[in-house]
Structure formats: C-alpha cells, structure tokens
C-alpha cells in the first residue's frame, strides 16, 4: 500500500512569491493534515481538511491556506512568502475524522530566499 506522497520534494522561492505544495493521502483516507517543521521549532499544526472542508487551523496567518479535492488530495498555498516560512512542510492523513492516528509523508522542503 502506497503511503502519503508529497510534491515537490524541494521548492525554492523568493520573498513575496507564492508557493503551492501538494499531498496525496493514503488510499481510503479522507482526512488530510498539514504541519510546519521549522528548524528549532518542532512540528506545528497548520490545517486539517476532511471530506473537502477545512475543519481546523492552527495559529498561522491567513496567507497560509489550502484546499482538499474530491479525490481527497490536498494543496497548501503560502502567499506573500517570508524568509521565516522556510521549513519542512509535512502532510499527514488518517482514515476519517474520528481516527486519531496520523500517517505522515516525507515532506516538502521550502526555502525562501
């Protein structure tokens, strides 16, 4: 069974640009979660999507947004990039809203210059 996949693996942008990160959950999983893993800050919860709806978001500004598609894949958009947005962005999935175990993908490393 394929795990969570993310693309691209690496992304380099300049300050002020927009970044789009993509995630495909494990087959059969309907919930997708996004986390930011910045150096020295651990994993911070960003967003949770389930059945196409945003269900919860972490303490991040509105320029962090996303969506979930009918096939349950998801996209994270970061607008007006700032240097401190440089981090590993991890996507996780779970079988449904009441399933607590989250399975993580390998991440997209975003570098903002």
């Amino acid at each position: 069974e394929a795990g969570v996949t993310q693309s691209p693996t690496h992304l380099i942008k300049t300050r002020g640009q927009q970044a789009t990160l993509r995630c495909s959950p494990i087959s059969g999983h309907t919930s997708v979660y996004w986390y930011q893993q910045a150096l020295g800050l651990g994993l911070q919860f960003l967003l949770w999507y389930d059945e196409g709806e945003e269900r919860n978001r972490g303490n991040f500004p509105p320029r962090f947004s996303g969506r979930q598609f009918p096939n349950y894949s998801s996209e994270l958009n970061v607008n007006a990039l700032e240097l401190e947005d440089s981090a590993l962005y991890l996507c996780a999935s779970s079988p449904g809203r009441l399933q607590e175990t989250q399975y993580f993908g390998p991440g997209t490393r975003l570098l903002v210059l």
């Binding site: 986390y35 651990g42 994993l43 389930d50 269900r55 919860n56 991890l90 607590e100």
Partner: protein, 115 residues
Amino acid sequence: QQQVKQSPQSLIVQKGGISIINCAYENTAFDYFPWYQQFPGKGPALLIAIRPDVSEKKEGRFTISFNKSAKQFSLHIMDSQPGDSATYFCAATPHGSSNTGKLIFGQGTTLQVKP
C-alpha cells in the same frame, strides 16, 4: 496554552542500553499520546501510542509509561540498536471538538546509539 515539553533534547546511548525519553503536559486534557520516529530526510513514522486510561503499553523493544496524575509519559527503548538512531517526538491530541485533528508535538529528542 497547549504544550508538550520533551526532554532530553539529545541522548547518546551505548548499543544494548536503555534509552529513555520523557514528556510532560499541563493545563489541557489530552486523549491520545502517540510517539513518532523520524529519520533524516523522512517524515515522522508512528512508533507506538497510548490512551490515558492505560498506564503502560509495550510493543517489542518499545514501551510507553503513562502517569496521569503527574501528567507525564515516557518512551523506553530496550536493547537500543544503532538502527534506532533517529529523532523521536512525543505528541498529544487535545480534548474537545475545537481541537479535533490537531496533534501537539514535543520539541523532539535526537537519539544516537553508539555501536
């Protein structure tokens, strides 16, 4: 504020020894306590998890001990092997519908097992 504090930040253990990583939480009820293992360049992988109504859970060489009254939980790795060298994260799921879906992570512990 929802927080999980993890210690130590780094740990060096000899092959065959016991690795112990501790986590503590405060001010919030949590429902579920998973531990994740992360190798360089990879995403975190679920190792073992426990609920607060259980004091201990063992899976192979990995054991979680949970002390509900002290709001502490720990991971013990018995017979540590060089292949266990990785970063370990404790996490917790906060209670309440507004927190559903969110995992609160500790800061991580980098474990090095020397041959």
